[in-house]
Structures are given as C-alpha cells and as structure tokens.
C-alpha cells in the first residue's frame, strides 16, 4: 500500500526532480523517466509495492517476467484484498499500523494525506491506496519552478512591495519553503444563453434657443453558445478558496497524464469534495462570465436594459487534477507570515507585513499631490 522509489544503482531514496522532470537519486545522480502507472497501481491489493517498481527498471526480459508474475499474484489477491484495503482505508488504518518501508518507523499521516516524507528518514512515501479509482486524479501539472527559482521569485516579489518594510526582503529569514500539490476539479461547461431587453440611443442637439433630446428605443436580443474550458475550483477543504482563486491562472496545456512517481517528494492530500458538490459554485461563476459576455455583445447604444436572461447548460464534465503550489512561511518581528506561490508561474499571494513609515509616507505624498492640484485649481479658476 505504501510505495517508495529506490534507486536501482545505489538503493537510496529517489524523488521527483523539478529541474529534470524525472525521478532522481541525489546520491548517485541516477535518473529515471516517468512512465505510466502499471494497472496494479490503480487497483492495489496487499503489501508494499516497491518491488514492483524496481522490477520495472531492472531490464527488459527480467522485468517482463516478473511484472507478469506480479500481475498474476496481484489479480488473485485483488478481489479478496480490495475490499479489505478499502475497509482499512475507511477505518483510517486503525487495525494495521503503517510503517515506513525504508526505515521501519511508524508513519504519522493525516487521514487525507496520500504523499508524505517519512519524518525519520525523509524518504518520499506514496500512500497509493488513497489514490485509487475515484480518488485517482486524471492529470497532474508538474512544478516548473524548483525551490531555488521559487526562493528568487519570492524575494523579487518582496522587493517590489510598496508597503513592506525594507528589512523584510532579506533571504536569511526565509524559513520554510515547501512544495505541495493541491487537488482541483477542472470543469468544462457548454451553455446556451439568450438575453433580451430594451436599449436606447440618445441624440441631443440645439436649434435656435431650444435643446432637443431625441430618444430612440430598440428591442434587442442575443442568443449564443458559449464553451468554457478548464474552469478550476480547489477541492481541498483546508485551502482558503480566495487564495486558491488568486493563485490562478495556470497554463493547463502543460498538464501530464497522472502517474504516481510525480508525487514523490511532495506533500499531497486527497480531495475533500466531489465534482457535483462544487458544481453549484462553478455554475454561478460561469453564469457571471456568460452574462458579462452577453452584455458586451450589445453595443452602440446609450443605455441597455436587460429584461430577460435565460441560460441552460448543454454539457458539463469535470476532471480531477493536481496543481503545484509552493508554501512559504516567513517569520518577521515575532510574527509568522505565510504566502502561497503558483508552482508554475511564480505568482505570489499573501499579506506582507506593513511598514507604518512607508504607509504614512505614501499617504502624505498622495494627499499632498491631490491638495496641491486642488489648490492650483482654486487659484487659477
């Protein structure tokens, strides 16, 4: 149930390297391409499966035989073990204490965690039984920024801050910077929309000593088909929805078919929500997008008054994905500041500390300028 990846050359623990885009062994610098998950990882039975993993890379013949054998063994266990695994899952592994396959120490993981690092030997461990069937994401967007790039991007962001105190941007304070995959649902929504209303064109002209106001009334209507792709909503309860919305956009064209090795070395949780639970929120959001777009198609009028708006969703589908995020925690003057950074683009979200001096300085400057402008106006007019 617990997967971990040992280097076929030296046996050390391997994790995903952001820079290389592969599994990487820090000790002997051996690297492996990410291959699609074998069938049994999507439908796991009994023991820890790092055997199956190393066999994959052993050699063509050998691996073929052994994988086949492993396959057969697995299928036999499957029907029996599958129910047991699920029961164990749901009972929060109460009966069977989980241990790290590398060092044997007990694992403490939250009930939702599916990818962790062993707190004793720092091995990257995947709780594969929590990535089964409906809990298995379809795609994953791998990190583009590695920890050094993330550090640099964060410091750059700090420097740009208009209100952050000067001392804030010192890199020595950067305490914890940890990479996390956040579960998201990506929705495709196709809708038909029709709007109708009354619009006016106003024309004002002066003839002699009379001012004429000419108002022409029009009945306007628009019908359209709108397709929205990859509308994201975070599926994790503990992640703040506003922060997750601000971290967008991601370039989804970089997403890859999900394979378990991508998670090696990153903290990841299972999703808390099913796609239908978040759907009302997403429909509302897309409804606003569609409404705004529809209004923009009625142009050339002085006023537009929409009296009726009808929409119906023709097709709705959703994909479960993991998106990359860097969490940065930064202690400053006794307080801990937490920031979230888009793991692909480097966009930083979070409230930095406020420098009283800078805030007052900006206030004095802006008020001063406005006052000077008003005064100049008063003197000249």
């Amino acid at each position: 149930m617990i997967l971990h990846f040992s280097c076929p050359d030296c046996g050390a623990d391997m994790a995903y390297s952001i820079k290389l885009g592969k599994l990487y062994c820090q000790h002997c610098e051996h690297s492996e391409d990410i291959k699609p998950d074998p069938e049994q990882w999507q439908n796991l039975g009994g023991q820890a499966m790092d055997q199956a993993w190393t066999d994959q890379f052993a050699g063509p013949e050998q691996s073929a035989d052994q994988t086949q054998a492993a396959d057969q063994a697995q299928t036999a266990d499957q029907t029996q073990a599958a129910d047991q695994t699920q029961a164990a899952d749901q009972a929060q592994a109460g009966g069977q204490p989980q241990v790290c396959p590398n060092c044997g120490s007990p694992i403490e993981a939250s009930s939702r965690a599916c990818s962790i690092r062993c707190p004793y030997c720092d091995s990257s461990l995947i709780l594969a039984d929590r990535l089964q069937r409906s809990m298995r994401p379809a795609m994953i967007l791998p990190f583009r920024m590695d920890s050094e790039a993330a550090r640099q991007a964060f410091l750059k962001w700090c420097h740009k801050g208009r209100f952050a105190p000067r001392g804030f941007a010192g890199s020595k304070n950067l305490k914890k910077i940890r990479p996390v995959y956040v579960p998201y649902w990506l929705y495709d929504l196709d809708l038909d929309l029709s709007v109708s209303g009354i619009a006016t064109k106003v024309n004002i002209y002066v003839s002699g000593d009379t001012e004429y106001t000419e108002t022409s009334f029009y009945s306007v209507a628009r019908q359209m088909q709108l397709d929205y792709r990859n509308v994201p909503h975070d599926a994790s309860e503990k992640m703040d929805d506003t922060v997750m919305a601000k971290v967008q956009p991601y370039d989804f064209s970089q997403m890859k078919e999900f394979a378990i090795p991508y998670l090696a070395g990153f903290e990841t949780d299972q999703r808390d929500y099913a796609d239908d639970e978040l759907l009302p929120l997403v429909r509302e959001q897309v409804g606003v997008y569609a409404s705004t777009f529809a209004r923009s198609t009625i142009s050339g009028y002085s006023t537009v008054n929409i009296k009726q708006e009808d929409s119906s969703f023709r097709k709705i589908s959703a994909k479960y994905v993991y998106l990359p995020l860097w969490f940065i925690s930064y202690p400053y003057q006794g307080k801990e500041y937490v920031f979230a950074m888009n793991g692909q683009t480097g966009k930083v979200i979070g409230t930095p500390p406020l420098s009283q001096l800078k805030t007052t300085g900006w206030f004095a400057l802006i008020s001063g300028i406005i006052f000077a402008i008003l005064l100049a106006g008063g003197l000249l007019l």
């Binding site: 001012e211 019908q223 919305a245 967008q248 406020l354 001096l357 400057l365 000077a372």
Partner: protein, 277 residues
C-alpha cells in the same frame, strides 16, 4: 539601514508639505493686487434713513474699515429716505463722487451700496478698477443675496451680504470664480486627506495579490459563437427644453466678463447695478 529608510520617508512627507506651502504662499501673493495711492475718500456707513441701530452701524463700519485696508479700496454703505427726485443709480454715483471715490476706471477701486427707501431700490455703484471686478453677474449674485434679507426688513444682514460680496470679489479679476478663503482651503485639505486615505487603503488591499482571471481566460472562443441577434427599432420620443438665458435687472452691457460702465451726471465712470424691492 532602518534609520536611512526613516529619513527617506520623512523627506518625502516634508516635500509634499513644502509643495502645499508653496502654493498657499503663491495664493496669498496673488491676492495682494496692485497698490494704489492712499485713500482720500471718506469711507463709512451713512445711515440717513436710520435703518440701523448704533451697534449694528459700529459693527458694519469696523468690518468695512478692515476690508478697505485689506483689499486696498474704498467702501461705503448709504441709506436714504429721500432721493431728491434722482434715480437710485444717479444718487449712488453722485454720493460716491462726493465721498471722494475715483472718477476714472483705471483708478483706486471703490464700491458703494445704497438702500434707497424713496425709490424702494437697492443700488450698487462701482468706481475705479472695481468696475472691472464687479461684472453684471457678480452684481446680480450679490443683490440676490441681499434681496433675501431686505424683503424681511433685515437691513443689517442686507448690508452684511453686501460686505460678503466685497470680501469675495474685490481685487479678483472677473474671469475667476472668486476669492479663495480659508474655509475653501480647509475643505480641500479634508478632501485630499480622504482621497489619499482611500487610495492608500485600496493599494494596501491589492498588495496581497489580486484575481487576474476573467471569463476570457476560460472561454473557448473557437467553439463559442453568437447564434442569433436582433435589433428592432420600436419608437422615438423627442423632448424640448427652452434654453434659459440670464436676463439682467441692472443697466449696461458687460455680461460675466468685466463690467461695462456708464458716465454719471458728474462725469465719473461708474459700473454696478440695482434691484427694486
């Protein structure tokens, strides 16, 4: 390092304040105006019709004197029961000349306010440079304010409104709105503080990151299309409005740019206007 940052911010604040101080100084300097020969006119309150009691007269006189000094001009307030057969305009012009106000429009500015109980008319007579300061619309504006009080027989406040008119416009070229007073500056300070506060507040809120996605981010333009549109004309309505042009109650041309003037029976050049009550 921290001290250097402090210094920089204080410098910024001081620069902003200095900018404002500079403008205020410019304002005060601007309002000084040309210096004229010392006044030989007999300024004051001449209440022949006895519309004011002695304390009211004193208060008006002291305010009047301070304005004469501050704005370097001649001011008089006159009331009469008997215009001696003259029109209010003529009476006012002649009185001003008798008091010693300027005869020529380039000379020392002077302004006289007459309450003529005989003709039942208020009249303002301007002399010297005051002719150009007090355009017809400014005269109208002052008389409007006076009218409110004179119909209630409140002669003291009527005169007070006249002196307000002196304070607001004496020395200010007719192209401008009026004298910038301390209260105007206070209001400006309040507005700029409020605007500054609002702007800084908005900047702070945005400093933690903003939403940068919209419908356009997710709209698949390739597969979206407008399938129908209709714009049908229903009807047209036309409304009319007669443009109201201001009509002068007073004499003479001039409008809102620099007053026109007439020549009095005594040969002096005067401007001004009047209103019956």
């Amino acid at each position: 390092m921290i001290f250097a940052e402090k210094k920089k911010k204080i410098l910024t604040g001081i620069t902003a304040l200095l900018l404002c101080a500079f403008f205020v100084a410019a304002a005060l300097w601007g309002s000084a105006g040309d210096a004229f020969a010392a006044s030989s006119a007999q300024n004051g309150v001449y209440d022949a019709a006895e519309l004011l009691d002695s304390s009211q007269e004193d208060r008006l006189k002291s305010r009047l004197d301070s304005y004469c000094e501050k704005y370097d001009c001649d001011i008089a307030i006159v009331t009469t029961d008997d215009a001696g057969g003259k029109t209010s305009e003529d009476y006012a012009d002649t009185y001003a000349e008798d008091l010693g106000m300027s005869m020529k429009k380039e000379d020392r500015p002077g302004i006289l306010f007459l309450i003529d109980m005989d003709n039942r008319r208020m009249q303002i007579s301007t002399s010297g440079q005051a002719i150009s300061y007090y355009s017809d619309s400014r005269i109208d504006h002052i008389l409007d304010r006076c009218y409110k009080y004179i119909i209630r027989d409140d002669y003291y406040r009527t005169c007070g409104q006249f002196l307000d008119g002196v304070r607001d416009y004496m020395g200010i070229s007719a192209a401008r709105h009026g004298r910038l007073r301390a209260i105007h500056i206070l209001i400006m300070a309040i507005i700029s503080a409020a605007a500054g506060g609002l702007i800084v507040f908005i900047m702070l809120r945005r400093s933690g990151g903003v939403i940068t996605t919209s419908g356009a981010t997710y709209l698949n333009a390739k597969d979206s299309r407008i399938t129908g549109r209709s714009d049908h004309f229903i009807n047209r309505t036309v409304t009319r409005r007669i443009i109201h042009r201001d009509t002068d109650d007073g004499p003479g041309p001039g409008g809102s740019g620099g007053g026109g003037f007439h020549v009095s029976s005594g040969g002096g050049e005067h401007g001004g206007g009047g209103r019956s009550f």
